[in-house]
């Protein structure tokens, strides 16, 4: 039917929610309001996809607070935080729909956790909310530590460890060779995750050129995860001052006890020229690493930030040794401004460090982390603890950018924040979100579906479709609601979107 003087208006395109400025100015191809619809092709829409259960076990996990994708060497799994009836945080490992391990870690005050996978293992840092005036901030649980979980259903344990202690018995061994003179000897324990503790049970002994050296009463570690013990030694010392802790120590080649039970290591021959692998730096490492709200990997280094006592401190491990963090030169301080570090992300070989309204960068210069120079990227924009989009199974960047949730909206970041923000169409909608609840926001990027999925503090899931282009005007946004409400999202097995819901 056509009324006189009225031309029909054909609506043949629907480009999602428009929530900025006056609702009367909503373009005709957008929605003033919508819920539970998704785009079909370029111009149509329909009811969103339904959800199915992810655990086909008799007693599935409930009261789910946080889910991360946990890629292991033989497949993708999930690592899940739930709250038990005693209000304790429990970490469970969901291997597949029929197999769940856990709890592999229980921490009373753990309301959330930071996670990073590395070499098939899971590094876990419990954190929670703290109030600082009107600001709610996230930092590591007090008196708690970073844990590592091996992925096999055994209990997670604190990373790092204490040195061996005891009295080493040293004697000349069978015929062999050493550079004669006084040496300092000791042993370094190694865990099943490859962590090398500081040298312990140090003792001095004067070797002979024609004999090897034998060791008895080699201390064993109380840590059940210790699987090896390595002999360390100094080069021959002239003018020994009596302090066994004051000399450089090296790993002795081929002098390893491959268990944590044997009490002796006999007939070790070496020359000082064989002592090339320095072990001295192990002395400076943390024996247990304080928990933080942020975990990340940069240049094969584990980075931990926002601990209970130092909200602007980053603890950076040695390269390839995620549990070896020097208390002297493994620390980086971001300028103190009363706000904690919220996120760390590598992009194009640069480590970007975010606070809620600040972004800085560091570059590995090949020297120790404390020597890395800081570069200010933005003094107004930052993100929240789960505000950098996870892409597929591993990480962060996709097509050389990050998608970041900031107070201003969802913004692309390629070394600088790209304005206008991707969520420009829903600016008003985004600004209604409670800032103190931004830690509840979690974003994943599903490049196969060409969609962002963002859990909002309102327990809705915000879908951002970029199949028409990843720019502010081509984005199509729709909020999705569920009867139970959602509070966490993860992407799994390339394009499987996982949702979690608690009792709220």
């Amino acid at each position: 039917m056509q009324l006189r003087d009225h031309d029909p208006i054909t609506l043949d395109k629907f480009n999602g929610l428009w929530a900025r400025e006056d609702p009367d100015n909503t373009p005709l191809d957008h929605f003033q309001d919508c819920q539970n619809v998704r785009h079909i092709g370029n111009s149509s829409f329909g009811t969103r996809d339904g959800i199915g259960i992810s655990q086909d076990v008799l007693v599935p996990l409930s009261n789910v607070k946080r889910i991360y994708n946990y890629p292991m060497q033989d497949g993708n799994t999930l690592i899940v935080l739930v709250k038990n009836d005693a209000d304790q945080g429990e970490i469970h490992h969901v291997v597949d729909e029929n197999t769940t391990f856990g709890p592999v870690l229980t921490v009373a005050q753990m309301d959330d956790f930071a996670f990073v996978p590395y070499a098939g293992r899971a590094y876990i840092s419990p954190f929670t909310d703290f109030s600082n005036g009107e600001l709610t901030m996230q930092k590591g649980v007090q008196n708690e530590f970073v844990y590592v979980y091996n992925g096999d259903g055994t209990q997670a344990r604190k990373i790092a460890g204490s040195p061996l202690t005891g009295t080493l018995t040293i004697a000349n061994g069978a015929a062999g060779h050493t550079d004669p003179g006084l040496h300092i000897f000791g042993f370094v324990s190694e865990t099943d995750t490859g962590f090398l503790a500081a040298p312990g049970a140090l003792a001095s002994f004067t070797t002979l050129s024609t004999n090897s050296v034998s060791f008895g009463t080699v201390p064993v570690s109380a840590d059940p995860h210790v699987i090896k013990r390595h002999l360390v030694a100094s080069k021959a010392i002239v003018g020994f001052n009596g302090d066994v802790t004051g000399y450089q120590l090296f790993f002795v080649p081929n002098a390893t006890i491959n268990d944590n039970t044997s009490l002796f290591l006999n007939n070790v021959s070496f020359y000082d020229a064989d002592l090339l692998d320095d072990a001295s730096h192990l002395i400076d490492n943390f024996t247990s690493v304080p928990a933080g709200a942020v975990l990340s990997i940069y240049h094969n280094r584990l980075c931990i930030a926002a601990t209970y006592n130092d909200i602007s401190l980053i603890q950076v491990s040695a390269e390839g040794e995620p549990e070896a963090i020097s208390q002297i030169d493994g620390l980086i301080v971001v300028p103190l401004d009363g706000n904690p570090i919220t996120n760390i992300q590598e992009l194009r070989d640069v480590m970007y460090v975010f606070k809620r309204s600040r972004t800085v960068a560091f570059v590995d210069n090949g020297d120790v982390p404390s020597s890395w120079q800081m570069v200010v990227i933005d003094n107004a924009l930052g993100t929240c603890v789960h505000g950098v989009a996870t892409v597929l199974d591993s990480g962060s960047a996709s097509v050389d950018y990050l998608a970041v949730c900031s107070y201003a909206g969802v913004i692309l970041f390629n070394g600088q924040f790209i304005i206008p923000e991707l969520s420009w169409k829903i600016e008003e909608y985004w600004r209604t979100l409670e800032r103190n609840d931004f830690d509840l926001i979690q974003i994943v990027n599903a490049p196969i579906q060409k969609e962002f999925y963002i859990v909002l503090p309102t327990r809705l899931l915000l879908s951002g479709n970029y199949s028409l282009g990843m720019d502010p005007k081509s984005m199509r946004w729709e909020p999705w609601g569920y009867i139970m409400g959602v509070n966490t999202v993860a992407i799994h097995n390339i394009d499987e979107i996982i949702l979690g819901a608690d009792l709220g």
Partner: protein
């Protein structure tokens, strides 16, 4: 179990009707409101005026202070009585002393339960013909009321003095009770989105004097909360059944501590556990995945959180004490803290679940898909 008891008056709660004039010798050897070592309580009341024709003395018994002896033992407070304690008999012993003009007196448990006495300056006993609740026994107390038809001059003094003691036998009731439905599932029906029935029936004897039901718990932030459901809000209230609404009000669910449910005001004293209640609620919490082209949401149904709730029963004290005593301390002493859900909190514990049994699920429609278009102007 049975035995004997004796109730003793505390000197702070005795009362009398009349005007006592210290300047006038009432002629009595009784002192005012005194508890003697043998359990007798004394009180006197005198008039020295025109046309006094009624003098009364009433004794009540403290529910707070130690005022009752069991089997000759030490004095204990009402709340310290064993669970299910109930008097099977009550005998009032009175020693009356009258003065000028009193011709007839009544000794009484309450105004409707009395016996005429004419014997003065001597002992008189009166056995209560009715069955008494523990609460009646304490709250009604006992007393005497004397009348005179004579009119005396201003200078004429008339008065009475009384000494009283209540003794009797008691028994311990083994109260059987149950709660239904148990477990009780409350909250939202995930299939329909409607509220589930939230009515809990408490079945037990002697519920007719219950005045309220209390729920006390702490939330996840360790903040204590209490809901008091007065008898006026009971949908059903009979001597054997009380029905209440269990309301899933945040932050009640999930509570950090096991909620305690208490009923207030019963005919038996002490505390009687009425049963253990399991509360379930459908939350749909769990791990889900988005399924392309799926036309509904499949939610977990069996993953409801279960909380064990002990139901306690305490006596009403007085109005001002009601809110102060949500849980009977004796019951806590005897039974410890309320039983809690068994929670495996051993950090060394882990379970490998390899069950192929399917969880309970429910398919629900995708809630309210809608769009609201932009303004189409003319």
């Amino acid at each position: 179990m049975a035995g004997t008891y004796s109730l003793e008056v505390t000197d702070t709660i005795a009362s009398s009707v009349g005007s006592w004039n210290d300047a006038v010798d009432c002629g009595s050897s009784f002192s005012n409101a005194k508890l003697t070592s043998d359990g007798w309580a004394t009180q006197r009341a005198c008039f020295g005026g025109n046309n006094p024709n009624n003098i009364a003395i009433r004794f009540t018994f403290s529910l707070v202070a130690a005022s009752i002896r069991l089997d000759g033992g030490p004095l204990i407070a009402f709340a310290g009585l064993p669970n299910g304690w109930r008097p099977t008999s009550a005998q009032l012993a009175v020693f009356l002393k009258s003065f000028n003009g009193i011709t007839q007196c009544f000794i009484q448990f309450d105004a409707a339960t009395e016996q005429s006495v004419t014997l003065f300056n001597g002992n008189k006993t009166f056995t209560n013909p009715n069955s008494l609740s523990a609460l009646d026994l304490f709250n009604n107390g006992c007393g005497d009321s004397c009348v005179s038809s004579q009119v005396f001059s201003d200078l004429t003094i008339q008065g009475i003095g009384a000494a009283v003691k209540i003794t009797g036998n008691y028994t311990i009731d083994a109260v059987t009770s149950y709660l239904t439905p148990n477990p009780l599932t409350i909250g939202k029906n995930l299939a329909t989105g409607n509220d589930l029935p939230d009515l809990l029936e408490i079945h037990a004897p002697n519920l007719d004097q219950v005045t309220s039901v209390n729920l006390a718990w702490t939330d996840k932030n360790s903040v204590p909360h209490t809901i008091n459901i007065p008898a006026s809000q009971f949908p059903v209230h009979t001597p054997t059944i009380i029905v209440i609404h269990i309301i899933p009000i945040p932050p009640f669910f999930p509570p950090r501590t096991t909620p305690n449910v208490t009923v207030t005001g019963t005919t038996f004293s002490g505390s009687v556990p009425l049963g253990t209640l399991t509360i379930q609620f459908e939350t749909g919490s769990g791990i889900y995945r988005i399924v392309k082209n799926k036309r509904n949401d499949t939610l977990y149904l069996g993953s409801t959180s279960v909380h064990w709730v002990n139901v306690y029963n305490i006596i009403e004290l007085t109005d001002e004490y009601e809110e102060m005593v949500p849980i009977n301390p004796v019951l806590l002493t005897q039974q410890g803290l309320p039983e809690e859900e068994i929670v495996e909190d051993d950090p060394a514990f882990f379970v490998q679940s390899t069950s192929t049994s399917a969880p309970d699920t429910n398919d629900v429609k995708i809630p309210d898909p809608f769009v609201e278009l932009g303004y189409i102007g003319g």
